[in-house]
Symmetry: C2
Amino acid sequence: MVSDTRNRLLQEAEVLIRTRGYAAFSYADLSERVRVRKASVHYYFPTKEDLIVVLVQEYIERFVTKLDDITRQHAQARDRLLAYAQLFLDGFEKGLLPLCGALSAERAALPEIMHPTITHFFQIHLDWLVGVLEAGVSAGTLHANVVPARTAMLLLSTLEGGSFVGWALQQKAPVLAAFEAALSTIEAAPPKRVRRKSAVPAKPAATRRRKGSPTRARRR
Amino acid sequence: MVSDTRNRLLQEAEVLIRTRGYAAFSYADLSERVRVRKASVHYYFPTKEDLIVVLVQEYIERFVTKLDDITRQHAQARDRLLAYAQLFLDGFEKGLLPLCGALSAERAALPEIMHPTITHFFQIHLDWLVGVLEAGVSAGTLHANVVPARTAMLLLSTLEGGSFVGWALQQKAPVLAAFEAALSTIEAAPPKRVRRKSAVPAKPAATRRRKGSPTRARRR
DNA sequence: ACAAATCTACCAACTGGTAGGTAGATTTAG
DNA sequence: CTAAATCTACCTACCAGTTGGTAGATTTGT
């Protein structure tokens, strides 16, 4: 078994990038956190550019694997999308911004070779979402009038944006709130919706026809 | 007639922050762009912290004015929201990320006194949106079942997120695409074609409604 | 023994920041 | 009115600390 220094460096660097940003962390920070000397960081990643290139490269590989897992483990579009959203929430609850968003924010301060990588990263998100949405429409679990390309953009944007808004407000509500609102607009009428515990409705709020009207999706 | 150096410094600093980020620009960069010596930058803004505090402070003031203008110039919720979205698009077309989003991304690398300011900045967005949405619901131009707080979050998130996605992909489509998709789900059905999509939120269903009776009655 | 991993000890360039000077406009005092 | 004093808006020349990065010695594991 060899040293795990390289992995710990990548791990800590990822945390730093996803909290402070690429420009705002130094090899000195990194060496301090991993408790090796600065020169040892250069041993694994000769330049800072090397570091971020490898970091993002490996991150994307892991991310693609996660997307594959989701596709394999969930059959319904809704479940896949919720699992996808959970990826963002997982990061958020660890106090981390989405890597792709963090990189996008700093785009102009990043080494230029990163630019196509960032584009590619977002495209992976969008392509996967489009695939899920198309499958959902075909299967009839999503509204027939959902336009996959546009909806993929909406879902990705709400999660990215929600992460930044939640990060600024220091509360996690925005991350999923926006996404769920978006999701609810694209679902075909469900046979029955899982209800969450509502806030003790003293009066029967039943006078309001709940969830009824959207059921009549037209023309399926 | 006095020197406009101070304003030019603020202006260039804003561009730098909204493209590269706070950590990634230096007084040397700024002095070069404005073509004064570094010491002159310190003359107006003794420390970098002073600079960003003043910059964001003044930005927020201008931003609030813009929101007021929109409220005054547009009566319909839809028009107000489109004008609001246009603010993001205007920045985007100048190659600038939303300031609030850029600051959020770097939150941990910013002087701590900025943290409440950033929160406040986002709250201004949300409060204004909630006001517009409530008015729209009361006036009947928005779906009666729109939950202003949640929808405000959705709209803000899509614009922030759309800006970052568009920035990464270097195309403006995402900025408005996501927002328009969100907007279309909250508009009241036009008199003729009833094409109601579900906008029913999953969570809070209970505490709605009697807020509507006073406001909603006043339909003029 | 030897290669991988880590170290000490540097470096030039850059960072935010300071000290002190100066030309010219503006205010004040005789 | 005018001369002294003050102020504004810059400047040159520094500074200590940090940045990413390098050379080369030493330790470690097999």
